[in-house]
Symmetry: C3
Subunit: 142 residues, 3 copies
């Protein structure tokens, strides 16, 4: 029989950068008892993103940061919205260029991720923060 | 008991820019009677996007426009597809850089948006247009 | 009655570029018997994306390639992660700028795509590859 389960999680970021959340999300899926279905993650902020990326080489994360820092430079004189500093508006543009939401199929009670895929919460602000997201799982329960 | 409801909406854009649609989407959720579940929005165009962004300071919207206009310049000689003008191909690239689809959890009969989040339809063409999207909600009905 | 169905598909890419997969996905929807609901596609790789784009003019696909090649240049000295060549890290950045996942409403047994929309698997590596994705459909069965 189909079920629908929703929960909130909070993650402590350490400032700008990619925080892997695969483990905690996988734990939630295991506890939910869902065996086949769809998990949707939604970040409740406009200066952080959800990202699927390679979880093997840490250089990938550094390169992603450097690449986005060049595409959307901090302190760019183009920006008028600067209330919270030089990284404020760039964080919103980075959020627009990435995703606030991810839906991942569940099969046999597990996230159907590829071998090299991890789930990341991408903090775009320089300061550490507590970031909430909602997890919504729908599917067939064991 | 789980239900699945699908509907179409049309929005009149006023040319390039972010049109907030949070209110109409929230109204649809309220009318649907869904209390817990997942709402998926899908824009049926290739030159408009769906975006979660800050809904407080209007400067954010202007800065997003200026930032994307520099990343993907109108009239760029790089582009061969120019049938409909200088903003035609840039609109497709902007659509690729953003999202055609958004899924947002529903809790207690409401969109589980963060405090500062609004839902926007981003028109990438210069001309005003009627833009359709589909809303698909699945979940538990009150 | 609501159902949930999950499947895997593999596509052979011919190296970097957009491969249209609309037909095979539509066939899967028809075989699933789902009449109303939501289809979620998820690519199980970190150097390929899923994209909704114009399926009429092939120049659009070439222009998308040229635009992304300029935004994220191959062989950029910025990148440290180069184990698999000059297109390795740019493929990850392109994946971050686009989407690993797409959810498309189903109405009357068909994908609710707009007139000009096609579903594409975007291969970001230069070499041809076999790329898997998962399809997860939930909804009302005929």
């Amino acid at each position: 029989m189909l079920r629908q389960i929703t929960a909130s999680m909070t993650f402590e970021t350490r400032g700008r950068g990619l925080l892997e959340v695969t483990g905690r999300v996988a734990d939630w899926v295991a506890e939910s008892g869902l065996s086949s279905g769809l998990l949707s993650l939604f970040v409740r902020h406009t200066s952080a993103s959800l990202l699927i990326q390679e979880n093997a080489d840490p250089d990938v994360r550094g390169d992603l940061e450097r690449s986005f820092a060049r595409l959307v430079p901090d302190g760019d004189p183009l920006f008028r919205h600067r209330d919270e500093g030089a990284d404020d508006m760039p964080a919103h543009v980075r959020a627009a260029l990435t995703a606030a939401q991810l839906s991942i199929p569940l099969t046999a009670g597990r996230l159907a991720l590829g071998t090299w895929q991890g789930i990341y919460l991408w903090e775009h602000r320089m300061a550490a923060s507590a970031r909430g997201h909602s997890s919504s799982g729908g599917g067939v329960r064991r």
